[in-house]
């Protein structure tokens, strides 16, 4: 399947721009040559059917190494972390044979690493297929490693008509959304622009300079761009489409975006590492309602939770039980959804993030949306606070525009507003005014 994909890439005009990285442009012709070069180096270094870490984020070489490894029937493990402890943890869990450092092409053998083999790797090798290992954050702090049949995954990307579109690759190399963006771009013969820094200013400069048309993003990052005044200060008129996913979007932010970027379509994407990305349709740019329209995926809603049966499902977890998969193949996503008219759905949050106040369930987003309508509030994040009385209670961290009022008065106003607009148990018992809300390196909110 990977060979079929690569053969189709050969039909794209070889001078067409494929990748822009570090201000250098690489054509589809150059990419195919680079993949071949990498393949030959790897061929000299080790036999086929190995498990190999690609260390480094998106770059011209990391992409070429990825395809070279697939041609070599290897299982690849993208790791972008620069933190040694993180890397060590992931290596321990996934048990690779080699590490390739993508910027220097240094190959390190980890043989003598005698871990027990796992059956998912064996199955892939026995059926002559390439594989992919992804990690998701486990609740215990140890990453959960899962194995994809990459030949199967890539078979869902059909190389169709060539489209002259410029994409900014915002999501990362080790993320299902990031890999999805890359495979989509290449299958359309479009151009991918790889950012060196994922900061609002530098992303805006790239969008402007390379006339980016499509920007897959996250609500947190779009919010940062908004707070940073990016939409007022940069010409982003080339943007035809912004997609957002990975966490719930607030209605307030969506309407700000629609206002500031009236000509850009805003579409919600959905996917999980376990199932791959699902094709969706947003009701409109102003709407958080979406429909799943994907022949490779079936969905159903069980007790408010979204379940997916996917043709691109992972084989399983290496270091975790497979309880989130049912015997008949459904994956319990942990995402809560509401069914609306005409088959549209609204994603309302993670099951694990629901705050249980004495048996009453509170979704962080509904409280956040209430607080965000206050004009002196810039940003906020709602979380559970332990309470000996109600088990959990609602707490919130709020960023305000400037301290015109004193903190006590601000808290009072927030509380009063919440009482007016929310049910009693949803009103935060603790309000912390802070100067910024932290987010992870993947631009999802985090709490400390």
């Amino acid at each position: 399947m990977v060979d079929i994909f690569l053969n189709k890439l050969k039909k794209i005009p070889s001078n067409k721009q494929a990748i822009i990285f570090n201000s250098k442009t690489h054509s589809y012709g150059e990419l195919l040559i680079k993949i071949n070069d990498c393949y030959n180096i790897i061929l000299d270094a080790f036999d086929h059917k190995k498990v190999v870490v690609i260390l480094g984020d998106y770059s011209f070489s990391s992409i070429a190494i990825l395809f070279a490894l697939c041609k070599h029937k290897c299982i690849f493990i993208p790791i972008i972390s620069e933190n040694e402890q993180e890397i060590k943890k992931k290596i321990e869990v996934s048990n690779p044979d080699y590490i390739i450092e993508s910027s220097s092409f240094q190959i390190t053998s980890l043989k003598g690493n005698n871990h027990s083999p796992n059956s998912y790797y064996d199955d892939l090798f026995n059926s002559n297929k390439s594989g992919l290992v992804l990690f998701s954050s486990g609740s215990t702090g140890n990453p959960k490693a899962m194995v994809h049949d990459f030949d199967n995954l890539i078979s869902t990307y059909n190389v169709n008509k060539i489209k002259n579109l410029n994409f900014l690759v915002f999501l990362l190399f080790d993320h299902i959304g990031g890999l999805n963006t890359m495979l989509n771009i290449l299958s359309m013969g479009s151009t991918m622009i790889i950012p060196e820094k994922r900061e609002p200013e530098s992303i805006a400069k790239l969008i402007k300079k390379f006339k980016v048309n499509i920007f897959p993003s996250s609500p947190t990052f779009l919010n940062l761009m908004n707070i940073g005044g990016i939409f007022e200060n940069y010409d982003l008129s080339s943007l035809k489409l912004i997609t957002y996913g990975t966490e719930p979007m607030s209605e307030n932010l969506l309407s700000i975006l629609k206002n500031k970027l009236p000509k850009t379509r805003l579409i919600q994407t959905f996917g999980t590492s376990e199932t791959g990305i699902i094709k969706t349709k947003s009701k409109s740019s102003e709407s958080l309602l979406l429909k799943f329209e994907d022949n490779n995926q079936e969905i159903k809603i069980m007790d408010g939770e979204l379940w997916i049966k996917s043709k691109t499902r992972v084989l399983g977890y290496i270091n975790h039980d497979n309880n989130s998969f049912t015997k008949d193949g459904w994956f319990k996503t942990g995402d809560l959804v509401e069914e609306r008219e005409d088959g549209y759905l609204k994603i309302i949050g993670r099951k694990s993030k629901v705050i249980n106040v004495g048996g009453e369930k509170v979704l962080p987003i509904e409280v956040e949306e209430a607080i965000l309508t206050l004009d002196f509030v810039l940003d906020c994040t709602v979380y559970a606070k332990e309470s000996l009385i109600t088990g959990q209670a609602v707490a919130v961290k709020v960023v305000v525009k400037s301290l015109i009022l004193d903190i006590k008065q601000i808290k009072k106003n927030i509380k009063l507003h919440c009482k007016k607009t929310l049910e009693r148990y949803k009103v935060p018992v603790e309000i912390i005014i802070t100067d910024k809300i932290n987010f992870t390196s993947r631009f999802k909110r985090k709490l400390d």
């Binding site: 309470s387 000996l388 109600t390 148990y425 603790e430």
Partner: protein
């Protein structure tokens, strides 16, 4: 201002805001349960705010709703005087 008076002032301010009417308290006033003005969510909020108040005023970091407080025969949150005794006990034990 004397400590007890400060606590009563704090409680009055809290209740006034919470109930949206001016509240005057005496040592005998009921708080939670037995017809007192606090509902359970107000109690949860009060505990959080009291902890904050104690930290600001007396520089003590105290968990007010602990297992011990919950299992007392008379709840420290039922009456103003009980709450004041309980807070003093907590502050002195720090």
């Amino acid at each position: 201002m004397e400590k007890n008076e400060k606590i009563i002032n704090f409680l009055e301010e809290f209740l006034t805001e919470e109930l949206d009417e001016t509240i005057k308290l005496s040592l005998d006033s009921k708080l939670f349960g037995g017809g007192g003005p606090l509902d359970s969510m107000a109690l949860v909020t009060l505990i959080v705010e009291l902890e904050e108040f104690l930290e600001d005023e007396y520089n003590v970091n105290i968990t007010l709703a602990d297992e011990k407080a919950m299992s007392r025969r008379t709840s420290p949150f039922s009456r103003v005087s009980y709450l004041i005794d309980y807070l003093n006990e907590k502050i002195n034990n720090e």
